[in-house]
Amino acid sequence: MLTLVGIIGDMAAQHTRVSGDILRWCHEIYDKYDNGTTVKCVKGAKYCDYIVFAALHTGLKALNLLEDEMYERSDGGASCTLDRAIGGVLKLINKTRRNLERISIKGSYHPDCITTSVVPESLKACMDNISCLSLTSYSKSSKQVEEPTWNTVVVENEGLRIRKDDVYLEVCPYGDIEVVLSKATFNATFLVSSHALRTGSSVFRELLGPESAFAGHNRGYRALRMHAGHAESSSHAERFQLVVEKTYNPTAFAIVLYALHACGANIPSSINFNKLLKLAVVCEEYNCASVMLPWCEKWIEEWRWAVGTPGYEGWLFVAWVFGINDIFRTLTKVFAGGVIAEDCGRRVVVNEGIQKLGEYIPQRIMGMCFS
Protein backbone atom coordinates (compact mmCIF):
# COMPACT_ATOMS: atom_id res chain seq x y z
CA MET A 1 0.00 0.00 0.00
CA LEU A 2 2.85 2.34 0.68
CA THR A 3 3.92 2.09 -2.92
CA LEU A 4 0.51 3.22 -3.99
CA VAL A 5 0.81 6.29 -1.88
CA GLY A 6 4.24 6.95 -3.20
CA ILE A 7 2.89 6.89 -6.73
CA ILE A 8 0.06 9.24 -6.00
CA GLY A 9 2.36 11.49 -4.07
CA ASP A 10 4.86 11.68 -6.89
CA MET A 11 2.20 12.36 -9.43
CA ALA A 12 0.71 15.06 -7.35
CA ALA A 13 4.11 16.62 -6.95
CA GLN A 14 4.74 16.68 -10.67
CA HIS A 15 1.33 17.82 -11.78
CA THR A 16 -0.20 19.88 -9.13
CA ARG A 17 -2.59 21.80 -11.27
CA VAL A 18 -4.42 19.42 -13.52
CA SER A 19 -7.00 17.59 -11.54
CA GLY A 20 -8.27 15.76 -14.64
CA ASP A 21 -4.91 14.11 -15.07
CA ILE A 22 -4.83 13.04 -11.49
CA LEU A 23 -8.23 11.56 -11.89
CA ARG A 24 -7.04 9.54 -14.88
CA TRP A 25 -4.02 8.29 -13.01
CA CYS A 26 -6.15 7.37 -10.10
CA HIS A 27 -8.20 5.17 -12.33
CA GLU A 28 -5.05 3.60 -13.69
CA ILE A 29 -3.89 2.88 -10.21
CA TYR A 30 -7.26 1.56 -9.28
CA ASP A 31 -7.11 -0.88 -12.17
CA LYS A 32 -3.76 -2.05 -10.98
CA TYR A 33 -4.59 -2.35 -7.33
CA ASP A 34 -8.28 -2.97 -7.41
CA ASN A 35 -8.20 -4.82 -4.15
CA GLY A 36 -6.79 -1.81 -2.43
CA THR A 37 -9.24 -0.88 0.21
CA THR A 38 -6.91 1.01 2.42
CA VAL A 39 -4.41 3.60 1.50
CA LYS A 40 -1.85 4.34 4.08
CA CYS A 41 -0.23 7.61 3.58
CA VAL A 42 2.90 8.29 5.51
CA LYS A 43 4.27 11.80 5.61
CA GLY A 44 1.84 12.54 2.88
CA ALA A 45 -0.16 15.39 4.19
CA LYS A 46 1.54 17.60 1.67
CA TYR A 47 -0.35 15.82 -1.05
CA CYS A 48 -3.25 14.99 1.13
CA ASP A 49 -5.85 16.68 -1.01
CA TYR A 50 -4.83 14.65 -3.99
CA ILE A 51 -4.80 11.40 -2.14
CA VAL A 52 -8.22 11.98 -0.69
CA PHE A 53 -9.38 13.08 -4.07
CA ALA A 54 -7.97 9.93 -5.60
CA ALA A 55 -9.47 7.75 -2.92
CA LEU A 56 -12.89 9.21 -3.43
CA HIS A 57 -12.75 8.82 -7.16
CA THR A 58 -11.44 5.31 -7.18
CA GLY A 59 -13.96 4.05 -4.70
CA LEU A 60 -11.59 3.19 -1.93
CA LYS A 61 -13.43 2.39 1.23
CA ALA A 62 -11.03 3.51 3.89
CA LEU A 63 -8.25 5.95 4.11
CA ASN A 64 -5.65 6.35 6.80
CA LEU A 65 -3.55 9.43 6.77
CA LEU A 66 -0.63 9.43 9.08
CA GLU A 67 1.31 12.54 9.64
CA ASP A 68 4.15 11.78 11.94
CA GLU A 69 6.43 14.72 11.47
CA MET A 70 3.84 17.11 12.71
CA TYR A 71 5.01 17.71 16.17
CA GLU A 72 8.56 18.74 15.50
CA ARG A 73 7.61 22.06 14.11
CA SER A 74 5.98 24.59 16.29
CA ASP A 75 6.10 27.43 13.80
CA GLY A 76 2.75 26.52 12.38
CA GLY A 77 4.07 25.08 9.15
CA ALA A 78 3.27 21.53 9.97
CA SER A 79 0.00 22.37 11.62
CA CYS A 80 -1.03 24.06 8.43
CA THR A 81 -0.58 20.85 6.53
CA LEU A 82 -2.90 19.02 8.85
CA ASP A 83 -5.28 21.90 8.78
CA ARG A 84 -5.23 21.62 5.05
CA ALA A 85 -5.64 17.89 5.26
CA ILE A 86 -8.75 18.04 7.38
CA GLY A 87 -10.11 20.92 5.41
CA GLY A 88 -9.42 19.05 2.21
CA VAL A 89 -11.12 15.92 3.40
CA LEU A 90 -14.24 17.69 4.53
CA LYS A 91 -14.43 19.84 1.45
CA LEU A 92 -14.01 16.90 -0.84
CA ILE A 93 -16.54 14.76 0.93
CA ASN A 94 -18.98 17.57 0.66
CA LYS A 95 -18.15 18.38 -2.92
CA THR A 96 -17.97 14.94 -4.42
CA ARG A 97 -20.89 13.55 -2.48
CA ARG A 98 -19.19 10.24 -2.20
CA ASN A 99 -18.93 8.01 0.76
CA LEU A 100 -15.83 6.93 2.46
CA GLU A 101 -16.55 4.46 5.17
CA ARG A 102 -13.75 5.69 7.22
CA ILE A 103 -11.12 8.32 7.14
CA SER A 104 -8.72 8.58 9.93
CA ILE A 105 -6.16 11.27 10.14
CA LYS A 106 -3.50 10.74 12.69
CA GLY A 107 -1.24 13.52 13.63
CA SER A 108 -0.23 15.51 16.60
CA TYR A 109 -1.45 19.00 16.19
CA HIS A 110 -2.32 22.07 18.03
CA PRO A 111 -6.05 22.41 18.58
CA ASP A 112 -6.03 26.10 17.80
CA CYS A 113 -4.75 25.62 14.28
CA ILE A 114 -7.87 24.16 12.77
CA THR A 115 -9.43 26.62 10.41
CA THR A 116 -12.81 27.63 11.65
CA SER A 117 -14.14 28.33 8.20
CA VAL A 118 -13.76 24.76 7.01
CA VAL A 119 -14.52 22.76 10.09
CA PRO A 120 -18.04 22.97 11.40
CA GLU A 121 -18.59 23.97 14.97
CA SER A 122 -19.64 20.52 16.12
CA LEU A 123 -16.40 19.06 14.85
CA LYS A 124 -14.32 21.76 16.36
CA ALA A 125 -15.69 21.02 19.77
CA CYS A 126 -14.35 17.51 19.55
CA MET A 127 -10.93 18.40 18.33
CA ASP A 128 -9.07 18.78 21.50
CA ASN A 129 -7.35 15.46 21.28
CA ILE A 130 -3.68 15.78 21.64
CA SER A 131 -2.24 13.35 19.22
CA CYS A 132 -4.83 11.60 17.21
CA LEU A 133 -7.96 12.40 15.37
CA SER A 134 -10.30 10.26 13.41
CA LEU A 135 -12.80 11.66 11.04
CA THR A 136 -15.38 9.16 10.01
CA SER A 137 -18.10 9.39 7.50
CA TYR A 138 -20.66 6.64 7.84
CA SER A 139 -23.24 5.52 5.39
CA LYS A 140 -26.11 4.45 7.55
CA SER A 141 -27.43 1.54 5.55
CA SER A 142 -26.33 -0.02 2.35
CA LYS A 143 -29.76 0.01 0.73
CA GLN A 144 -30.67 3.51 1.46
CA VAL A 145 -28.30 5.66 -0.49
CA GLU A 146 -27.65 8.57 1.73
CA GLU A 147 -25.60 11.43 0.65
CA PRO A 148 -23.08 12.54 3.20
CA THR A 149 -23.67 15.92 4.65
CA TRP A 150 -21.95 17.82 7.41
CA ASN A 151 -24.09 16.00 9.90
CA THR A 152 -22.97 12.57 8.90
CA VAL A 153 -19.32 13.42 9.32
CA VAL A 154 -18.68 12.31 12.83
CA VAL A 155 -15.55 12.93 14.71
CA GLU A 156 -14.88 10.04 16.93
CA ASN A 157 -14.04 11.94 20.00
CA GLU A 158 -11.42 10.35 22.17
CA GLY A 159 -9.60 9.37 19.04
CA LEU A 160 -6.87 8.00 21.24
CA ARG A 161 -9.20 5.42 22.65
CA ILE A 162 -10.17 3.74 19.46
CA ARG A 163 -6.74 3.51 17.98
CA LYS A 164 -4.75 0.40 18.59
CA ASP A 165 -1.43 2.04 17.94
CA ASP A 166 0.72 3.22 20.75
CA VAL A 167 1.18 6.90 21.21
CA TYR A 168 4.44 8.58 22.09
CA LEU A 169 4.58 12.18 23.18
CA GLU A 170 7.67 14.18 24.05
CA VAL A 171 6.46 16.49 26.76
CA CYS A 172 9.98 17.39 27.78
CA PRO A 173 12.45 16.55 24.99
CA TYR A 174 15.32 16.53 27.46
CA GLY A 175 13.52 14.51 30.08
CA ASP A 176 14.93 11.54 31.91
CA ILE A 177 11.97 9.22 32.46
CA GLU A 178 8.98 7.92 30.55
CA VAL A 179 5.52 7.74 32.04
CA VAL A 180 3.44 5.01 30.47
CA LEU A 181 -0.31 5.22 30.65
CA SER A 182 -1.49 1.76 29.82
CA LYS A 183 -4.98 1.32 28.49
CA ALA A 184 -6.75 -1.75 27.32
CA THR A 185 -6.07 -1.13 23.69
CA PHE A 186 -2.87 0.83 23.60
CA ASN A 187 -0.10 2.46 25.58
CA ALA A 188 0.46 6.17 25.71
CA THR A 189 4.04 7.00 26.59
CA PHE A 190 5.13 10.43 27.68
CA LEU A 191 8.75 11.51 27.85
CA VAL A 192 9.00 13.76 30.89
CA SER A 193 11.44 15.19 33.37
CA SER A 194 11.38 13.62 36.81
CA HIS A 195 12.41 17.00 38.25
CA ALA A 196 9.26 18.66 36.96
CA LEU A 197 6.97 15.89 38.17
CA ARG A 198 8.47 15.95 41.62
CA THR A 199 8.36 19.72 41.84
CA GLY A 200 4.71 20.07 40.85
CA SER A 201 3.05 17.01 42.32
CA SER A 202 3.33 15.60 45.82
CA VAL A 203 2.27 12.18 44.58
CA PHE A 204 5.07 11.96 42.07
CA ARG A 205 7.36 13.25 44.81
CA GLU A 206 6.31 10.31 46.93
CA LEU A 207 6.76 7.93 44.09
CA LEU A 208 10.04 9.15 42.69
CA GLY A 209 11.69 11.13 45.46
CA PRO A 210 14.50 9.96 47.72
CA GLU A 211 12.48 10.57 50.88
CA SER A 212 9.60 8.55 49.51
CA ALA A 213 7.87 5.81 51.42
CA PHE A 214 8.20 3.81 48.25
CA ALA A 215 11.95 4.33 48.27
CA GLY A 216 12.54 0.66 48.75
CA HIS A 217 9.89 -0.19 46.25
CA ASN A 218 10.94 -1.60 42.94
CA ARG A 219 8.84 0.82 40.97
CA GLY A 220 9.90 3.98 42.70
CA TYR A 221 13.01 5.87 43.50
CA ARG A 222 15.31 2.90 43.98
CA ALA A 223 14.43 1.55 40.59
CA LEU A 224 15.08 4.98 39.14
CA ARG A 225 18.49 5.21 40.79
CA MET A 226 19.37 1.66 39.89
CA HIS A 227 18.35 2.37 36.37
CA ALA A 228 20.45 5.52 36.28
CA GLY A 229 23.46 3.59 37.50
CA HIS A 230 22.79 0.91 34.97
CA ALA A 231 22.41 3.39 32.16
CA GLU A 232 25.71 5.02 33.02
CA SER A 233 27.57 1.74 32.91
CA SER A 234 26.02 0.47 29.72
CA SER A 235 26.43 2.26 26.45
CA HIS A 236 22.81 2.19 25.29
CA ALA A 237 20.67 4.10 27.71
CA GLU A 238 17.04 3.14 27.82
CA ARG A 239 14.94 5.40 29.92
CA PHE A 240 13.31 4.49 33.17
CA GLN A 241 9.62 3.82 32.71
CA LEU A 242 6.98 4.58 35.28
CA VAL A 243 3.82 2.67 34.51
CA VAL A 244 0.51 4.23 35.52
CA GLU A 245 -2.10 1.54 35.80
CA LYS A 246 -5.14 3.69 36.34
CA THR A 247 -7.20 4.51 33.31
CA TYR A 248 -6.95 8.24 33.09
CA ASN A 249 -8.04 10.07 30.05
CA PRO A 250 -4.84 10.31 27.99
CA THR A 251 -5.61 13.78 26.72
CA ALA A 252 -6.29 15.10 30.19
CA PHE A 253 -3.17 13.37 31.43
CA ALA A 254 -1.13 14.93 28.67
CA ILE A 255 -2.49 18.38 29.48
CA VAL A 256 -1.50 17.99 33.12
CA LEU A 257 1.98 16.86 32.11
CA TYR A 258 2.33 19.84 29.80
CA ALA A 259 1.29 22.11 32.66
CA LEU A 260 3.82 20.49 35.00
CA HIS A 261 6.47 21.28 32.42
CA ALA A 262 5.10 24.78 31.87
CA CYS A 263 4.55 24.19 28.16
CA GLY A 264 1.82 26.78 27.85
CA ALA A 265 1.80 26.68 24.08
CA ASN A 266 0.52 23.11 24.05
CA ILE A 267 -2.35 23.71 26.42
CA PRO A 268 -5.67 24.53 24.78
CA SER A 269 -7.21 27.85 25.67
CA SER A 270 -10.69 26.37 25.72
CA ILE A 271 -11.82 22.95 26.75
CA ASN A 272 -15.06 21.02 26.83
CA PHE A 273 -16.65 20.29 30.16
CA ASN A 274 -16.14 16.56 30.04
CA LYS A 275 -12.44 17.05 29.52
CA LEU A 276 -12.31 19.57 32.34
CA LEU A 277 -13.83 16.96 34.60
CA LYS A 278 -11.32 14.33 33.49
CA LEU A 279 -8.57 16.83 34.03
CA ALA A 280 -9.80 17.49 37.55
CA VAL A 281 -9.64 13.76 38.22
CA VAL A 282 -5.98 13.63 37.20
CA CYS A 283 -5.16 16.78 39.17
CA GLU A 284 -6.88 15.40 42.28
CA GLU A 285 -5.11 12.08 41.97
CA TYR A 286 -1.68 13.65 41.63
CA ASN A 287 -2.41 16.60 43.88
CA CYS A 288 -1.20 19.11 41.35
CA ALA A 289 -4.19 21.42 40.82
CA SER A 290 -2.03 24.46 41.54
CA VAL A 291 0.08 24.00 38.41
CA MET A 292 -3.05 24.30 36.29
CA LEU A 293 -3.79 27.66 37.86
CA PRO A 294 -3.09 30.04 34.97
CA TRP A 295 -5.13 28.02 32.48
CA CYS A 296 -7.86 26.97 34.86
CA GLU A 297 -9.06 30.49 35.38
CA LYS A 298 -9.98 30.79 31.73
CA TRP A 299 -11.70 27.42 31.57
CA ILE A 300 -13.65 28.07 34.73
CA GLU A 301 -14.96 31.37 33.40
CA GLU A 302 -15.87 29.59 30.19
CA TRP A 303 -18.05 27.08 32.02
CA ARG A 304 -19.31 29.20 34.89
CA TRP A 305 -22.71 29.48 33.24
CA ALA A 306 -23.22 25.74 33.68
CA VAL A 307 -23.03 25.82 37.47
CA GLY A 308 -26.22 24.31 38.80
CA THR A 309 -27.46 23.33 35.35
CA PRO A 310 -28.74 19.74 35.20
CA GLY A 311 -26.14 17.56 33.57
CA TYR A 312 -23.27 19.55 35.01
CA GLU A 313 -23.26 18.11 38.52
CA GLY A 314 -19.59 17.31 38.05
CA TRP A 315 -18.95 21.01 38.68
CA LEU A 316 -18.90 20.22 42.38
CA PHE A 317 -15.85 18.08 41.87
CA VAL A 318 -14.15 20.61 39.62
CA ALA A 319 -14.81 23.36 42.15
CA TRP A 320 -13.43 21.17 44.91
CA VAL A 321 -10.24 20.27 43.08
CA PHE A 322 -9.42 23.75 41.87
CA GLY A 323 -10.59 25.42 45.04
CA ILE A 324 -13.24 27.71 43.63
CA ASN A 325 -14.98 28.70 46.81
CA ASP A 326 -18.06 30.50 45.58
CA ILE A 327 -19.09 27.76 43.17
CA PHE A 328 -18.42 25.08 45.73
CA ARG A 329 -20.58 26.87 48.27
CA THR A 330 -23.41 27.38 45.82
CA LEU A 331 -23.43 23.77 44.73
CA THR A 332 -23.14 22.23 48.16
CA LYS A 333 -26.12 24.35 49.23
CA VAL A 334 -28.10 23.18 46.23
CA PHE A 335 -27.13 19.57 46.69
CA ALA A 336 -27.44 19.50 50.46
CA GLY A 337 -31.19 19.82 50.14
CA GLY A 338 -31.49 17.02 47.70
CA VAL A 339 -29.04 14.24 48.26
CA ILE A 340 -30.70 10.89 48.48
CA ALA A 341 -29.03 7.52 48.65
CA GLU A 342 -30.21 5.04 46.11
CA ASP A 343 -28.86 1.71 44.91
CA CYS A 344 -25.68 2.32 46.84
CA GLY A 345 -25.10 5.06 44.30
CA ARG A 346 -25.36 8.74 44.89
CA ARG A 347 -28.12 10.67 43.30
CA VAL A 348 -29.08 14.20 43.81
CA VAL A 349 -32.28 16.04 43.12
CA VAL A 350 -31.71 18.98 40.88
CA ASN A 351 -34.60 20.97 39.49
CA GLU A 352 -36.99 18.31 40.70
CA GLY A 353 -35.40 15.70 38.46
CA ILE A 354 -33.13 13.02 39.81
CA GLN A 355 -29.64 13.29 38.41
CA LYS A 356 -26.83 10.94 39.09
CA LEU A 357 -24.06 12.73 40.84
CA GLY A 358 -21.58 10.29 39.44
CA GLU A 359 -18.36 9.11 40.86
CA TYR A 360 -16.88 12.56 40.85
CA ILE A 361 -17.42 13.36 44.45
CA PRO A 362 -14.52 14.05 46.73
CA GLN A 363 -14.25 11.17 49.15
CA ARG A 364 -14.03 13.43 52.15
CA ILE A 365 -17.40 14.93 51.29
CA MET A 366 -18.99 11.55 50.80
CA GLY A 367 -17.79 10.57 54.24
CA MET A 368 -19.42 13.65 55.76
CA CYS A 369 -22.70 13.18 53.92
CA PHE A 370 -23.29 9.60 54.88
CA SER A 371 -21.75 9.33 58.30
Binding site: Y174, G175, D176, H195, A196, R198, A262, M292
Partner: protein, 220 residues
Protein backbone atom coordinates in the same frame (compact mmCIF):
# COMPACT_ATOMS: atom_id res chain seq x y z
CA UNK B 1 28.94 29.79 49.02
CA UNK B 2 31.47 32.02 50.77
CA UNK B 3 30.54 35.62 50.66
CA UNK B 4 33.68 37.66 50.12
CA UNK B 5 32.12 41.03 49.50
CA UNK B 6 30.62 42.36 52.69
CA UNK B 7 28.05 44.52 50.91
CA UNK B 8 26.82 41.70 48.77
CA UNK B 9 23.81 39.72 49.95
CA UNK B 10 23.77 36.03 49.18
CA UNK B 11 20.37 34.60 48.30
CA UNK B 12 19.53 31.00 47.62
CA UNK B 13 16.33 30.27 45.75
CA UNK B 14 14.93 26.82 45.30
CA UNK B 15 13.01 27.00 42.06
CA UNK B 16 12.99 23.24 41.52
CA UNK B 17 13.55 21.32 44.77
CA UNK B 18 14.78 18.29 42.86
CA UNK B 19 16.87 20.17 40.36
CA UNK B 20 20.24 19.02 39.14
CA UNK B 21 22.09 22.31 38.83
CA UNK B 22 22.53 25.79 40.24
CA UNK B 23 22.44 28.98 38.24
CA UNK B 24 24.53 31.68 39.85
CA UNK B 25 23.81 35.31 39.09
CA UNK B 26 26.17 37.82 40.61
CA UNK B 27 25.52 41.54 40.68
CA UNK B 28 27.22 44.18 42.84
CA UNK B 29 24.35 44.08 45.31
CA UNK B 30 23.32 40.46 45.31
CA UNK B 31 24.67 37.00 44.77
CA UNK B 32 21.71 34.87 43.78
CA UNK B 33 21.81 31.11 43.44
CA UNK B 34 18.89 29.36 41.77
CA UNK B 35 18.40 25.62 42.12
CA UNK B 36 16.89 24.53 38.80
CA UNK B 37 16.35 21.55 36.54
CA UNK B 38 18.47 21.37 33.41
CA UNK B 39 15.72 19.36 31.67
CA UNK B 40 13.26 22.19 31.80
CA UNK B 41 15.78 24.85 30.86
CA UNK B 42 16.82 22.81 27.83
CA UNK B 43 13.23 22.20 26.79
CA UNK B 44 12.26 25.84 26.95
CA UNK B 45 15.32 27.66 25.73
CA UNK B 46 17.52 26.98 22.69
CA UNK B 47 20.31 28.90 24.38
CA UNK B 48 20.40 26.57 27.37
CA UNK B 49 19.95 23.66 25.00
CA UNK B 50 23.07 24.67 23.14
CA UNK B 51 25.18 24.93 26.25
CA UNK B 52 23.70 22.14 28.42
CA UNK B 53 21.91 19.73 26.10
CA UNK B 54 23.03 16.11 25.80
CA UNK B 55 24.48 16.68 22.34
CA UNK B 56 26.22 19.88 23.26
CA UNK B 57 29.95 20.20 22.73
CA UNK B 58 30.31 22.97 25.26
CA UNK B 59 32.26 22.61 28.44
CA UNK B 60 29.12 23.29 30.49
CA UNK B 61 27.35 20.17 29.24
CA UNK B 62 30.29 17.95 30.00
CA UNK B 63 30.63 19.41 33.48
CA UNK B 64 26.90 19.00 34.14
CA UNK B 65 26.95 15.37 33.13
CA UNK B 66 30.15 14.45 34.91
CA UNK B 67 29.79 16.36 38.17
CA UNK B 68 28.57 14.42 41.16
CA UNK B 69 27.87 17.49 43.19
CA UNK B 70 25.40 20.10 42.06
CA UNK B 71 26.74 21.77 38.99
CA UNK B 72 27.17 25.53 39.32
CA UNK B 73 26.60 27.51 36.16
CA UNK B 74 27.48 31.20 36.35
CA UNK B 75 25.45 33.76 34.42
CA UNK B 76 27.63 36.46 32.94
CA UNK B 77 27.64 39.58 35.04
CA UNK B 78 28.02 41.70 31.94
CA UNK B 79 24.56 40.65 30.76
CA UNK B 80 23.15 42.82 33.53
CA UNK B 81 20.15 40.68 34.35
CA UNK B 82 17.89 41.66 37.20
CA UNK B 83 17.95 38.92 39.87
CA UNK B 84 14.24 39.24 40.64
CA UNK B 85 13.26 39.12 36.99
CA UNK B 86 15.48 36.09 36.57
CA UNK B 87 13.68 34.37 39.43
CA UNK B 88 10.31 35.10 37.84
CA UNK B 89 11.43 33.73 34.48
CA UNK B 90 12.75 30.57 36.11
CA UNK B 91 9.55 30.11 38.12
CA UNK B 92 7.50 30.31 34.95
CA UNK B 93 9.75 27.81 33.18
CA UNK B 94 9.32 25.42 36.10
CA UNK B 95 5.58 25.90 36.37
CA UNK B 96 5.68 27.29 39.91
CA UNK B 97 2.43 29.14 39.49
CA UNK B 98 2.04 30.02 43.15
CA UNK B 99 5.28 32.04 43.18
CA UNK B 100 4.49 34.06 40.09
CA UNK B 101 3.03 37.54 40.54
CA UNK B 102 -0.20 38.39 38.75
CA UNK B 103 0.83 41.93 38.00
CA UNK B 104 4.24 43.31 37.21
CA UNK B 105 5.05 46.95 36.62
CA UNK B 106 6.48 48.15 33.37
CA UNK B 107 10.16 48.40 34.35
CA UNK B 108 10.27 44.89 35.78
CA UNK B 109 8.42 43.45 32.83
CA UNK B 110 11.06 45.04 30.63
CA UNK B 111 13.75 43.28 32.66
CA UNK B 112 11.91 40.00 32.14
CA UNK B 113 11.65 40.66 28.43
CA UNK B 114 15.40 41.26 28.25
CA UNK B 115 16.06 37.87 29.84
CA UNK B 116 13.50 36.13 27.66
CA UNK B 117 15.00 37.70 24.58
CA UNK B 118 18.49 36.59 25.54
CA UNK B 119 17.48 33.00 26.29
CA UNK B 120 14.94 32.94 23.48
CA UNK B 121 12.28 31.57 25.79
CA UNK B 122 9.46 34.09 25.34
CA UNK B 123 7.18 31.42 23.92
CA UNK B 124 7.47 29.46 27.15
CA UNK B 125 6.14 32.45 29.11
CA UNK B 126 2.61 31.74 27.91
CA UNK B 127 0.10 32.47 29.34
CA UNK B 128 1.76 34.74 31.90
CA UNK B 129 3.06 37.23 29.36
CA UNK B 130 -0.48 38.09 28.32
CA UNK B 131 -1.60 38.42 31.91
CA UNK B 132 1.20 40.86 32.61
CA UNK B 133 0.88 42.88 29.43
CA UNK B 134 -2.88 43.33 29.62
CA UNK B 135 -3.03 46.11 32.23
CA UNK B 136 0.04 47.85 30.78
CA UNK B 137 -1.17 47.91 27.22
CA UNK B 138 -2.81 51.32 27.50
CA UNK B 139 0.57 52.83 28.38
CA UNK B 140 2.00 51.92 25.00
CA UNK B 141 0.75 55.11 23.40
CA UNK B 142 2.04 57.33 26.16
CA UNK B 143 5.25 59.26 26.18
CA UNK B 144 8.03 57.67 28.20
CA UNK B 145 6.95 54.17 27.33
CA UNK B 146 8.75 53.86 24.00
CA UNK B 147 10.28 50.61 25.24
CA UNK B 148 6.90 49.00 24.86
CA UNK B 149 8.08 48.27 21.35
CA UNK B 150 10.62 45.89 22.79
CA UNK B 151 8.01 44.15 24.92
CA UNK B 152 5.68 43.82 21.96
CA UNK B 153 8.54 42.40 19.92
CA UNK B 154 9.66 39.85 22.47
CA UNK B 155 6.21 38.68 23.53
CA UNK B 156 4.77 38.97 20.05
CA UNK B 157 2.02 41.41 20.80
CA UNK B 158 1.07 42.02 17.19
CA UNK B 159 -1.40 44.78 17.82
CA UNK B 160 0.89 47.01 19.84
CA UNK B 161 3.88 46.27 17.67
CA UNK B 162 2.08 47.32 14.54
CA UNK B 163 0.72 50.47 16.04
CA UNK B 164 4.07 51.51 17.56
CA UNK B 165 6.15 50.78 14.50
CA UNK B 166 3.73 52.85 12.47
CA UNK B 167 4.12 55.73 14.89
CA UNK B 168 7.88 55.40 15.02
CA UNK B 169 8.25 55.09 11.30
CA UNK B 170 6.72 58.53 11.03
CA UNK B 171 8.70 60.03 13.92
CA UNK B 172 11.96 58.13 14.06
CA UNK B 173 15.18 60.15 13.94
CA UNK B 174 18.83 59.67 14.59
CA UNK B 175 19.94 61.46 17.75
CA UNK B 176 23.18 63.42 18.08
CA UNK B 177 25.05 60.44 19.50
CA UNK B 178 24.05 58.45 16.44
CA UNK B 179 21.41 56.45 18.23
CA UNK B 180 17.89 55.76 17.22
CA UNK B 181 15.45 58.27 18.60
CA UNK B 182 11.86 59.14 18.24
CA UNK B 183 10.02 62.42 18.17
CA UNK B 184 7.34 62.66 20.80
CA UNK B 185 5.44 65.90 21.13
CA UNK B 186 8.18 67.94 19.55
CA UNK B 187 11.04 66.48 21.61
CA UNK B 188 13.55 63.94 20.46
CA UNK B 189 13.53 60.99 22.85
CA UNK B 190 16.20 58.39 22.84
CA UNK B 191 15.01 54.94 22.07
CA UNK B 192 16.03 52.32 24.52
CA UNK B 193 19.10 50.36 23.56
CA UNK B 194 17.02 47.22 23.56
CA UNK B 195 15.40 48.07 20.31
CA UNK B 196 15.31 44.87 18.26
CA UNK B 197 18.42 44.89 16.14
CA UNK B 198 16.76 43.89 12.93
CA UNK B 199 14.45 46.89 13.19
CA UNK B 200 17.25 49.41 13.53
CA UNK B 201 19.07 47.77 10.68
CA UNK B 202 16.25 47.73 8.18
CA UNK B 203 15.05 51.24 8.89
CA UNK B 204 15.92 53.60 6.08
CA UNK B 205 17.82 56.76 6.91
CA UNK B 206 15.38 59.11 8.56
CA UNK B 207 14.64 62.28 6.74
CA UNK B 208 14.58 64.84 9.46
CA UNK B 209 12.87 67.52 7.45
CA UNK B 210 9.92 65.46 6.47
CA UNK B 211 9.52 64.12 9.96
CA UNK B 212 9.34 67.54 11.53
CA UNK B 213 6.77 68.45 8.97
CA UNK B 214 4.60 65.78 10.46
CA UNK B 215 5.07 66.71 14.08
CA UNK B 216 2.30 69.20 14.33
CA UNK B 217 -0.01 66.67 12.79
CA UNK B 218 1.14 63.93 15.11
CA UNK B 219 0.51 65.65 18.38
CA UNK B 220 -2.75 67.05 17.19
Amino acid sequence: MPDTDSEQIAVQLTICPYGDMNLVLETPAINATYLVSSHLLCSASPVFRASLGPHSQFREAAELQSSHKLYQMPIGEDLGFDPTAMAVVLCVLHGRASYIPDTIDFENLLEIAIICDYYDCAAAMSPWDKTWMQPLQKLSTESGYEDWLFLAWVFENQEVFEQMTKTFARNGVKTKDGEFGVVVRGEVKRMYTHLPECITRTRPKPQIGSIYAHISWYHR
